[in-house]
Amino acid sequence: MSGPSTHATDWYKDALFYQLHVKTFCDSDGDGVGDFRGLTSKLDYIRDLGVTCLWLLPMYPSPFRDDGYDIADYCSIHPAYGTMDDFRVFLDEVHARDMRVITELVVNHTSDQHQWFKEARSSREHPRRDWYVWSDTDDRYRGVRIIFTDTEQSNWAWDPGTKQYYWHRFFSHQPDLNYDNPAVQEEIWRAMRFWLDVGVDGFRVDAVPYLIERDGTSCENLPETHAVLKFLRRRLDEHYTGKVLLAEANQWPEDVRHYFGQDDEFHMAFHFPLMPRMFMALRLEDRKPLVEIVERTPAIPESCQWGIFLRNHDELTLEMVTDVERDFMYDEYARDPVARINVGIRRRLAPLLEGDRRRIELMNGMLMSLPGSPFLYYGDEIGMGDNIYLGDRNGVRTPMQWSGGWNGGFSSADPERLAQPVISNAVYGYQSVNVEAQRRTDHSLLNWTRRLIAARKSSPVFSRGSIVFLKPVNHRVLAFLRSLDREQVLVVCNLAGTAQAVQLDLKDYAGAVPIEMFGKSVFPRIGEAPYVLTLGPYDFFWFRLRRL
């Protein structure tokens, strides 16, 4: 079976994304900060993993008060990461390895150090004044929720210079752009165009629900916001093909659906509500939350795709869960209150799963087999740990651990100079968890992940197929059929830490022979009677159903 085409305009549907932070991936010049040259030197590693598209965290000039999401210049590279030429070389090398790159597009706000804002706040009459949202009082848009609850008390910040408030849905040093101003829309399009012309393959668009504000609303997901996004998409389609716009909209699936439009807004959107429910299902040993959210997910246009993930650079968000579910997640996954931030948990995958290899494998097995394009977060393929005592979400953005040597192989700088300290404890420290060691071990998590990705890529059913849940009476077993044309894959996962038996109603597939996809073992032919399987703790199967 041939792999998916990399030249199709909807290549993102078959892509395997790898999210990384240039700052902490690889430092080539010994200044303690990762850079593009260092990243370029590691592209073979990323390719060998099976990744087909990189997603870079913001690499733009920034005062770094929000780790680069506070952008001071949309059309330049942060000097610490290298030069524009470094970036071009990096892009060429990525493309030469048949991979792609998407970068961050932080549309909702800029840094207060951005030239635009500096001009806007210089006087009330400045032409750029209404590039941002100003108010004489902080009464406007009353009742709109605060997103960074741990640090902000209001969505308005006082500007003493012009004696007005400016609107910010995130940090107070990140003033929101005013998208009611067409000039803002055009300027953002200009920034997009700049990077597309350089050669990036798309953008992960940050914080899209919050672009427009209207009194008496939640200021989220407003029709005018969609109008802005449709404008940007129109421009994109007019000038480019094969590019992707990926929405970061932390909303319920039926609300995120609007961000696909009629295939005239985003090509992709993250499925935020699915992610905490995977963790919930595992802890509850009950498939209910996972099945419910997937079944609740509405259909999307044929050319669109969900982005699914286990972890990313932010906290494990618990915004799209009920209060009961949130309390459960906190009690089960973040007993230490230091691990909790905003409305979420700032931990990496391995510490969340207590370093249990079986659970890590199961979660990755589910990620790679559920509908959508999977996103891997850098370091999770080797089971990196975190440091919850670093501020903000920096604990999950520590340097990549390449080896057991100096600074984990990340940088030759003095450890005190590193942008973030390397994890060095006995359990997750670079001495024991690193790429070099796992490369040498055939059954390491790294090599297992490679094989998992290879198995996924061996069939387009995972990226493009439909999903039907089997609901055996044993609620500890998650079982579903992925189908595409005549190809069918049966996925069976044991969510429990105890061995389980399950009887599956597969009579609609009677006559098919299940072939386990990793070891190619042949299982008994499916008949009319319920198909009995037994699974070890946290075990899972992928079966290709063959008519032979």
Partner: protein, 425 residues
């Protein structure tokens, strides 16, 4: 010869799918189609509201209903607005209905429920009566929370009822059990109770299930077993208990025979436990008691006393074999006069009960005849008590019932002597 299984293959399959649970609620049924729905709904609401994180299951053990009760249990929809919280529960809800095999009766149903609890390693078990229309989700919480949260082994209910209601309990079962076991249990033979999974599992292997006690007196037996096994007991106020009207219930004679027969038999089998005990200790009551109804159920005391005299005369030859001459003479004396003037004092009633109990134990005649002979005397005693306290407030009646209990306790040495001594004649 292999032992017959308590759990059918189909039930085992279903239980396998449920897996280990924290809380199991059991409902034994037989033709309860008209009342089972709200009970099942209340259980699921309790799970969703009060035990969101616990693994739960509802098991209906059915005795061969012909009115579709099991189907109602299995197919009950939880899509109404008031049960939406169940749909949004954290965990999969489990609901099983299965027939039980064995001697028809609540005992076999309970044994199946206990066996299921054992298999599923349930931490707490609660049992509900399908005929009760006043069941609320708070009942389940009240019966389960003390086990799950505070480690109690057995939770007996406390119903909110007028002290003149339920005379068989207040005049006989409660004071006799209190004096015997030394524990102030308000409802010793309640159909609803909670217990630990360990208690339930221990009960499965005992010999009681094939005896008549399991058929007609299992509730009493379980209470006695809980006391005898030394597990921590407590009581939980549930509020008023309302049974559906129109439910077919046995008549008083049959009920009395079952209850008193079971009570006497229970005391007979656990004599080693209660004989040495003296006095009585209160049991913790977890939760605020609900106010009792203002008006008692209507009992015509005079009507109950109408046949007292003739009954004593008619039963003389039977009473000769059971009672000592002094007690019999006192009864005859008490039975003289107009019904409205008759009185059956506490000490005479206590002496009568104790002598009947001793006669039952010693088998002076067929044991069913002993209990049947007590019924007319019980009715007379009840009639006398009702007449004596007609028009008084509930607090006064409570005080009188407490005095009766104390009389039972005070006369216990007499019972011990009768129990271990020679027959009455």
């Amino acid at each position: 010869m292999p032992q017959p299984s308590l759990l059918t293959d189909d039930l085992v399959q279903q239980l396998m799918a449920v897996g280990q649970v924290d809380i199991l609620v059991g409902i034994p049924t037989l033709n309860n189609a008209s009342t089972i729905g709200p009970v099942v709904r209340a259980v699921h609401l309790a799970f969703a509201r009060y035990f969101q994180r616990e693994r739960t299951v509802l098991i209906n053990s059915d005795g061969g209903s012909e009115d579709g009760t099991p189907a109602i249990v299995r197919d009950l929809s939880l899509d109404e607005p008031d049960t939406l919280v169940v749909r949004h529960a954290l965990r999969t809800t489990h609901r099983i209905s299965a027939p039980y095999h064995g001697v028809p009766g609540k005992g076999s149903a309970l044994r199946q429920i206990f066996a299921a609890a054992d298999l599923l390693q349930a931490r707490a078990v609660a049992v509900l009566d399908p005929d009760v229309t006043s069941v609320t989700p708070e009942w389940v919480r009240a019966l389960v929370a003390p086990v799950v949260g505070d480690g109690f082994g057995f939770v007996a209910p406390v119903y909110a009822r007028h002290p003149l209601d339920g005379p068989l309990v207040t005049q006989l079962v409660r004071p006799l059990l209190r004096a015997a076991y030394g524990l102030r249990l308000a409802e010793p033979q309640a159909a609803e109770f909670g217990c630990s999974g360990r208690f339930a599992a221990d009960c499965v292997e005992l010999d009681v299930w094939d005896t008549p006690l399991a058929q007609f007196g299992i509730d009493l037996w379980l209470t006695g077993r809980a006391i005898a096994s030394g597990c921590r007991l407590c009581q939980a106020p549930l509020g008023p208990r309302t049974v559906a009207t129109g439910t077919h219930r046995p008549g008083l004679s049959e009920t009395f025979g079952q209850v008193v027969g079971s009570l006497f038999t229970l005391l007979g089998t656990q004599a080693d436990t209660w004989l040495p005990r003296t006095g009585s200790d209160p049991l913790p009551v977890l939760g605020p008691p609900a106010p009792p109804p203002a008006e008692p159920a209507r009992l015509d005391g005079e009507r109950l006393l109408q046949s007292f005299g003739t009954n004593v005369r008619d039963l003389k030859s039977v009473l000769d074999a059971i009672l000592v001459p002094e007690t019999e003479s006192a009864l005859e004396a008490a039975a003289l006069g107009q019904p409205a003037d008759l009185r059956f004092p506490d000490d005479l009633w206590v002496a009568t009960v104790y002598q009947f109990l001793a006669a039952h134990h010693q088998g002076v005649m067929r044991r069913e005849h002993v209990t049947q002979a007590l019924l007319p005397l019980y009715l007379a005693r009840t009639g006398s008590f009702v007449l004596q306290h007609a028009g008084t407030d509930a607090a006064s009646v409570d005080a009188a019932l407490e005095a009766l209990c104390l009389e039972f306790e005070r006369a216990k040495p007499y019972l011990v002597q009768r129990w271990t001594g020679a027959p009455s004649r």
